[in-house]
């Protein structure tokens, strides 16, 4: 008797992201498909960043979880296209990030290598405002475009003076 794919999604929803354990793998939007191929369960995953070291841990966690739930035949597939975007982080996931102290991504602000965005930013005319996840102030500044993991940038709140991570758009 094969468990329904809805049940599989629920099980996967119980798995925390290894680096940001307050959100689940389904919140993160990296599980792209769950389907039965005859008697084999196929789970398609997309990496967040090409070199993200959590990818191997995530695969292992999924395999352990599903085996523990009694899935005997399992295949994990990497799906690169379309590439992962922070737009896929669920609304619930964003709230959990904020509560955890990580500012959630501001959609539509990914770097695109164009000059205009950089000029705006250097001139201080960029409209990208990252609110402090602790005090809610919009008076924040970027310390570095990269943070503790590839997916984050480092910010500082100029009101409550706390440093914080921003889950940057990609």
């Amino acid at each position: 008797m094969q468990p329904a794919t809805e049940q599989i999604w629920r099980w996967l929803g119980e798995l925390p992201d290894p680096e940001i354990p307050v959100i689940s793998l389904t919140d993160l939007g990296i599980i792209r498909d769950v389907a039965w191929d005859d008697d084999t369960l196929v789970v398609k995953l997309t990496p967040t960043y090409s070199g993200c070291p959590a990818t191997a841990v995530i695969n292992l966690d999924i395999e352990k979880k599903l085996r523990a739930e009694g899935i005997g035949k399992l295949r994990l597939e990497r799906q690169l296209s379309p590439p992962w975007t922070t737009d896929w982080i669920s609304a619930e996931g964003r709230e959990k990030l904020r509560e955890y102290g990580i500012a959630p991504p501001v959609d539509g602000t990914a770097a695109d290598g164009r000059l205009l965005a950089r000029v705006d930013r250097l001139a201080g005319t960029s409209n990208l405002v990252i609110e402090c996840p602790r005090c809610g102030s919009a008076n924040t500044e970027r310390v570095s475009q990269f943070g503790s993991t590839p997916c984050k940038a480092s910010y500082r709140c100029k009101d409550c003076l706390e440093p914080f991570d921003y889950f940057k758009c990609i």
């Binding site: 690169l80 296209s81 770097a111 000059l115 930013r121 250097l122 310390v143 480092s154």
Partner: protein
């Protein structure tokens, strides 16, 4: 006493076959043998550029001027190594001789590497590392944008993934080139020296040989000359904002793309490949 692995008779073929069979079966390659060879060559060039630059940048880990820059450099290196896994993984698939990305990274000698000479150059000071990164990022970003519409869907999807990461690399390296170039007298001086030093290594990006022409004709990759105008425009604009003078020299150091490297590559490989050479097949 546990014995060390036998260092004299590594059965590389058996290890490669074992690793390959564990991966999903490769899609059949329909390309003609000549095109397949050019395609393989092209993929090595992409993967070796990211591998060698990724390794160079990773050498900064723990040595950067400030913590934030240390983290940024390590993250950039991580992206590049991740992209290497995809490019060299596909290279092994296209070659069809069951070599994995790891085999290609760890078991080839310097003359089989196809990266441009720029990326193997020593890091120098922080400014030099950033200048080299900017000159590379400006090319890399244009290249990946073009590859995202490759006729080969596997190339297109790797490029579509990588270009998003490289947009951040470019944004950061351009910002820092401007800040340091248009900074103090000392930082300005160092950035000009870094630019002059690296400049004659940038022409290799646009040098075209038979393999480049073959993949361009098949629509797998763009014509390299077609990237030059956009690269020039980006570089000129950033150098202008950085108050740096674009060197007049048109000399081109070349050879890396066909396996003729500077002495620096050998030292990188000695460091990078040591473990797999001494203990073939060692895994985490």
């Amino acid at each position: 006493m546990p014995s060390l692995p036998d260092m004299t008779t590594p059965n590389v073929d058996a290890l490669a076959a074992k690793a390959a069979s564990a991966q999903a079966k490769a899609a059949p390659i329909e390309a003609a043998p000549e095109l397949r060879k050019a395609f393989f060559e092209f993929l090595l060039r992409m993967g070796d550029n990211t591998l060698i630059l990724g390794h160079r940048v990773s050498e900064w880990c723990g040595h950067s001027p400030v913590l934030e820059e240390d983290i940024a450099l390590a993250n950039t290196a991580l992206d590049l190594i991740g992209q290497t896994q995809m490019w060299l993984g596909l290279a092994g698939e296209v070659e069809g001789e069951e070599r994995t990305a790891d085999n290609l990274a760890y078991l080839r000698d310097a003359a089989q590497f196809r990266n441009v000479l720029l990326v193997e150059r020593p890091n120098g000071d922080f400014g030099n590392t950033l200048m080299r990164q900017f000159l590379f990022d400006a090319w890399h970003h244009e290249m990946l944008k073009a590859l995202a519409s490759s006729t080969d869907p596997r190339v297109a999807e790797i490029a579509a993934k990588a270009v998003k990461e490289v947009a951040y690399h470019l944004e950061r390296s351009a910002d820092l080139v401007i800040r340091l170039g248009d900074g103090t007298e000392e930082s300005h001086k160092r950035m000009q020296v870094a630019l002059d030093d690296n400049w004659t290594y940038t022409g290799e990006f646009f040098l075209t040989d038979d393999a480049d022409r073959a993949v361009a004709e098949a629509g797998i990759a763009p014509r390299l000359e077609s990237l030059k105008a956009a690269w020039d425009s980006m570089v000129n604009d950033v150098l202008d904002q950085a108050r740096l003078t674009r060197p007049e020299s048109t000399y081109v150091h070349k050879g890396g793309k066909r396996g003729v490297h500077t002495e620096h590559l050998g030292f990188i490989l000695a460091d990078m490949q040591f473990l797999q050479r001494a203990y073939p097949g060692a895994t985490w």
